[in-house]
């Protein structure tokens, strides 16, 4: 039992930055930001290549290098995606799809192949302890507290205001482009961190790592909303509880014993039940604005 719990906690800690980033962009900014898939892969690629070429001797230095480069990589993807939206005027759904397409080629060029193995480099997150779990739990706690504090700052509140009422900013002379691009950059930087953690724990980077991540993030956020049932506009517990529930369900379904070809279908059925439960009574309450994105 403890082993199962440990497996689920490890998976949660690896994907927590990604879901927090998706929470910032889908739930707070209400921008359908699919470019987290590209940021996930690109962050993993940049940090893997940095670790290979810089070859740090100390674990702490290795962690710092990997995190810095994955954040920079993710930020770059987010910056492009946000700039296409705000400066050119394309709706964000389309500009994030275009970014995925652009980075499909950029990733192949930078990586120079299909698979890149990390196992012949030092594993910095093991910290000479022999297991990666302590670092993962530590990073998850740090990220949770940082995002909790972030949502209390001016910028965090402005992200939520953007989702609530985009025309708010023009009246008070607040730069909407700044808020939006900053939000998308942060979301994609977190996706990059998650990409690095996934690559380090699996041992290799693959071009198609990010495919399907947006859907799983949305699923996790929906599960989080159903389970926390909060009425506040921003709540850092939603992504945390949601990711944990997602991996608990995944782990439980693997153990049930049906033919795992149908895994995706059963998972989608569970999400449908959760959604039906959440949306059952929404239309009745006149104070709840109908939310087009729904995440």
């Amino acid at each position: 039992m403890l082993n199962s719990l440990l497996i689920v906690i490890e998976q949660t800690c690896i994907h927590l930055p990604l879901v927090i980033g998706a929470y910032f962009s889908f739930s707070l900014l209400k921008a359908p930001d699919l470019s987290i898939e590209a940021a996930y892969t690109f962050g993993a690629i940049t940090s893997a290549l940095a670790l290979q070429s810089l070859s740090p001797d100390f674990c702490v230095l290795g962690i710092a290098i990997a995190l810095i480069f994955s954040i920079l990589g993710g930020c770059f993807v987010g910056f492009l995606s946000g700039t296409f939206t705000r400066k050119i005027g394309i709706p964000h759904l389309l500009s994030s799809i275009v970014t995925i397409g652009l980075f499909h080629g950029i990733n192949q060029y930078v990586l120079g192949g299909a698979i890149f193995s990390l196992s012949n480099l030092i594993n910095p997150i093991e910290l000479n302890l022999g297991s990666e779990t302590p670092f993962l739990i530590f990073s998850a706690l740090v990220l949770f507290s940082l995002s909790f504090l972030f949502l209390k700052t001016q910028l965090g509140n402005m992200l939520a205001v953007h989702g609530n009422n985009p025309s708010f900013f023009a009246n008070y002379n607040i730069s909407m482009s700044f808020v939006f691009i900053f939000g998308i950059c942060i979301a994609n930087a977190l996706a990059g961190i998650s990409g690095y953690l996934d690559a380090q724990t699996s041992g290799f980077v693959e071009i198609g790592m990010g495919i399907g991540k947006a859907l799983s993030c949305v699923t996790a956020i929906i599960l989080g909303r159903v389970l926390t049932m909060t009425s506040r506009p921003m709540n850092t517990f939603i992504p945390v509880v949601g990711t944990f529930a997602y991996f608990v369900i995944q782990h439980a379904l693997i153990n049930v014993g049906f033919n795992l070809k149908y895994f995706t279908m059963v998972q989608a059925a569970i999400v449908l039940i959760a959604l039906a439960f959440y949306y059952r009574n929404r239309g009745n309450n006149i104070f709840e604005k109908i939310d087009n994105l729904g995440v």
């Binding site: 972030f150 209390k152 700052t153 001016q154 910028l155 509140n157 402005m158 939520a160 205001v161 609530n164 009422n165 025309s167 708010f168 009246n171 008070y172 002379n173 607040i174 730069s175 700044f178 808020v179 506009p233 104070f287 604005k289």
Partner: protein
């Protein structure tokens, strides 16, 4: 005192003059009402005062605030007719006031404090911690005005603040604006169509914005009630 002198305005650089040598002055200590038929140029006048012109439009004239400032657009604040657009629905009253204090590029610091207006809130029975979408129309209108006032403008423009409100809420908002004019140093200019409302406030100046058939421009004149 806000003075406009010989203002010329055209919607299209090659077209006819919309405001032709318009002059007016607005004083402190009283509510300045502007009244005029639909299409006479009230909202356009507000837009000019704020400085929001599009590229085709042509403006020439003298604007003077308190005999010293020439660049007046950032000392002027406006509350639109649709005041809901200016509020963040899901947040509380006090949070909205804090948001109004944020500068052009929000920083990573915690939310700034807002200037407390406890006495107003008690008077209008507004709960500071309730979310804004649960407040009544008049209370939200007051919130919009308070938010705009956080940056301490010298001139406050109100575009038909009471047109969407019922009698009781209208009275509440007008009382609030009246208090504001008496206690602070702000010049308040308000567009209003309701004659009875205008007439019930003695300390006010009543301007009429009309169409001059002879010169084909607009004029403003002070009308005594």
């Amino acid at each position: 005192m806000l003075k406009l002198n010989n203002v010329n305005f055209k919607f299209d650089k090659s077209g006819a003059c919309f405001f032709n040598n318009l002059s007016a002055s607005f004083n402190r200590g009283k509510i300045n009402f502007i009244q005029g038929a639909n299409g006479s140029g009230k909202s356009t006048l507000f837009r000019i005062l704020q400085g929001k012109l599009s590229s085709n439009e042509f403006l020439k004239g003298d604007f003077c605030l308190d005999e010293k400032y020439d660049n007046i657009s950032h000392r002027i604040a406006m509350v639109q007719q649709k005041f809901d657009v200016m509020l963040a629905d899901k947040f509380s009253f006090s949070e909205n006031l804090k948001f109004a204090n944020i500068s052009r590029y929000p920083s990573l610091k915690f939310l700034p404090n807002h200037k407390d207006v406890e006495e107003f809130l008690k008077q209008f029975s507004i709960d500071k911690n309730k979310t804004v979408n649960l407040l009544s129309g008049g209370q939200r209108q007051i919130l919009a005005i308070l938010m705009v006032l956080q940056k301490m403008p010298k001139v406050l423009l109100l575009d038909e603040p009471t047109s969407a409100l019922d009698v009781e809420n209208s009275k509440m908002v007008m009382d609030f604006i009246n208090d504001l004019v008496k206690t602070t140093n702000i010049i308040v200019i308000m567009i209003c169509h309701d004659k009875e409302l205008v007439e019930s406030y003695c300390n006010s100046e009543y301007y009429h914005l009309g169409h001059d058939l002879i010169s084909d421009g607009r004029f403003i004149e002070v009308k005594k009630i």
